[in-house]
């Protein structure tokens, strides 16, 4: 088996990672919409584990920034201030890969994620009649996430 070109983080069994993402079991990394993001000629045994660690890193960043954002804006009422918080905006740097993470967090705990979702997806599943209801905006995004298979 080709040796992956990355440093396995401490505490992770390299063999389990290789087995888990064996080329026969996995067709390649996909983006947030389920579309393959690499050329078919890429050696998945190299790419997939790298992608796996990138995914872990993204999740860690997301969780950290999410926690900081909630901490810093917990007492705020202004959505404009809540959505201009530095930690919130940092999540934009994760790109579309952040969308499933945001949807999952929105499902777990309601919060003002709508501004980020609109920017990252360039979509707006909320009808004008529902735009001023926090509950209905949330429901519309969760429904959209389920339809796009980004959310269970």
């Amino acid at each position: 088996m080709t040796e992956p070109l990355y440093n396995v983080p401490e505490g992770v069994d390299r063999r389990r990672v290789s087995k888990q993402f064996h080329v026969a079991d996995y067709r390649g990394p996909r983006d947030a919409w389920g579309i393959e993001i690499s050329e078919p000629s890429v050696d998945w045994q190299l790419v997939v584990p790298i992608n796996y660690y990138a995914s872990l890193e993204r999740r860690a960043h997301f969780q950290q920034w999410c926690k900081e954002w909630k901490h810093e804006t917990a007492l705020q009422s202004s959505p404009d201030r809540i959505c201009s918080n530095k930690s919130y905006l940092k999540i934009l740097t994760l790109g579309k890969a952040a969308v499933p993470l945001i949807l999952s967090e929105l499902q777990r705990e309601p919060a003002h994620w709508f501004f980020l979702l609109e920017i990252l997806t360039d979509e707006d599943p909320v009808s004008p009649a529902d735009a001023h209801s926090f509950k209905r905006v949330r429901e519309a995004w969760l429904k959209w996430g389920i339809e796009k298979k980004l959310l269970d």
Partner: protein, 163 residues
């Protein structure tokens, strides 16, 4: 030591942890003996909606998705808040002092912009929803004055419904 734990518990329900020092900076007048928690954390409504007896909507004069404002105004000036509550029968009044048969609301502001609202429920007792977390009852408006919400400078009143 017990009161410190109570304050910290107040803001930890949302999975956040605000340190005691941070709270002291945000609300220098908040003391365990002058407030108590009245609800579980609920992110679906905020302080302005709560002051207006609405626990279903996040009231804010903004175009952001999910923000509701009764008359559709935008702009953070205190006047925007006053116009919205005037549409529910409130009128401006001079002070926050208790007046029999009247319900009062107070508008906190920083630099002329509204930040927070509290509602008087009886003599010497106000209730507030703190941002995205919980409702509390507090003995004075000064409890929540500080760098986070500014000062309670504007007051409105209306006859108690049914009075």
């Amino acid at each position: 030591m017990g009161h410190r734990k109570e304050i910290i518990r107040l803001v930890m329900a949302w999975g956040i942890s605000i340190t005691e020092d941070e709270l002291r900076i945000k609300f220098p007048n908040l003391r365990p003996e002058n407030f108590e928690k009245r609800s579980l954390h609920d992110p679906f409504y905020n302080c302005i909606g709560f002051a207006g007896h609405d626990r279903e909507n996040w009231w804010w004069p903004s175009n952001q998705k999910g923000a509701y404002w009764p008359n559709g105004d935008t702009g953070l000036e205190v006047e925007t808040f006053i116009r919205a509550f005037a549409s529910f029968g409130y009128e401006r009044c001079e002070s926050a002092d208790y007046e029999e048969h009247y319900e009062k609301v107070a508008i906190y502001s920083l630099g002329g912009n509204g930040t927070h609202m509290a509602r008087q429920i009886k003599r010497g007792l106000w209730v507030s929803k703190l941002g995205q977390i919980e409702d509390i009852a507090h003995l004075t408006l000064q409890c929540l004055e500080g760098p986070e919400y500014g000062k309670a400078k504007d007051f409105m009143r209306r006859l108690h419904l049914g009075a």
